[in-house]
Symmetry: C2
Subunit: 153 residues, 2 copies
DNA sequence: TCTCCTATGTCAAAATCCTGACATGGAAGA
DNA sequence: TCTTCCATGTCAGGATTTTGACATAGGAGA
């Protein structure tokens, strides 16, 4: 069933909806939509949640580091951080004695908010995982990483 | 075949960067960035290119249909269509005798622009395809579709 | 030491996208 | 027929994101 690639045509499909990029975009859009909907009930946006999750695992990350981790620009993450600061979900020192990066940390309020939102997000992730045969899950993750790396992600 | 749910750890990884959603987001972000960069040299944005590609395969699509195909809202696609109309890359009748949907079509100029941009985009897609073992490509596409479907995409 | 280079934080402006809303056209069912 | 419902196109407003730019802090090398 998999011998068709033996010829390796540069463009295996004539329909754009058959292309890898299109499928990837569709899956990502579906995930984004589901997360958007789920997180709204917790008063968080997707970038905000991503930021909290990153800070929970790696406390003290700077604005630029968070931006790279969430795949947005420094400027966008800066706006996100301000929103989270205004909501008292994270804390950031106004100055630092060494360097320029300001390390951010979760507040107690931020941690509880994250815990609440996490269950909703993990349920979505579980739906995704159940949609792919278990034996293929590892390969799927590897392939996603490989594609990202091939494109300089 | 689906007996894995008997054990089914709810959260297989303790690191967010190990989650399916994170990998998917990263791959999609890498693709978006690569396409953005490539298409800029052709004077097109990603939604504009997606719109042209859809219209090349299915001439006469309406604004709402294009929006669904490109995973954006009707309003966003409306803006895209106006830009493409101003650039003379597509044409749309001002009125219609039946219904309300206005069918869009590529102009000759739009088709040549699409042809030029397509080679750049296909090169990116080729890079992605080469990053995954050939025998896994079909399964990858199926899994992406499965995940999108599971999330209501 | 001094100079270059990179990284970071931030500001300003524009572009993009979405939410909410409204009016219209068509189809389905009472 | 008529009434209800759904899909479409469009407008207005705001939120989000990006591009471009600038100043500063620290490290590497001459």
């Amino acid at each position: 069933m998999e011998d068709r690639k033996s010829v390796a045509p540069p463009h295996p499909a004539h329909d754009v909806t058959e292309h890898v990029g299109y499928r990837l975009k569709r899956a990502a859009a579906a995930l984004r939509g589901a997360m958007d909907k789920a997180l709204r009930q917790h008063g968080l946006t997707v970038p905000q949640y991503a930021c909290l999750e990153l800070l929970d695992e790696q406390p003290g990350l700077s604005n630029a580091e968070l931006a790279r981790g969430a795949f947005v620009t420094r400027q966008s993450m800066n706006v996100v951080l301000r929103g989270l600061q205004d909501a008292e979900l994270i804390s950031r020192p106004a100055t630092t004695d060494h360097g320029r990066a300001l390390p951010a940390h979760l507040t107690a309020q931020g941690r509880s908010r994250l815990d609440a939102a996490r269950s909703a997000v993990y349920a979505i992730e579980q739906q995704m995982i159940e949609a792919v045969p278990q034996r293929r899950l590892g390969a799927l993750l590897d392939d996603l990483d490989g594609m990202a790396a091939a494109l300089g992600g």
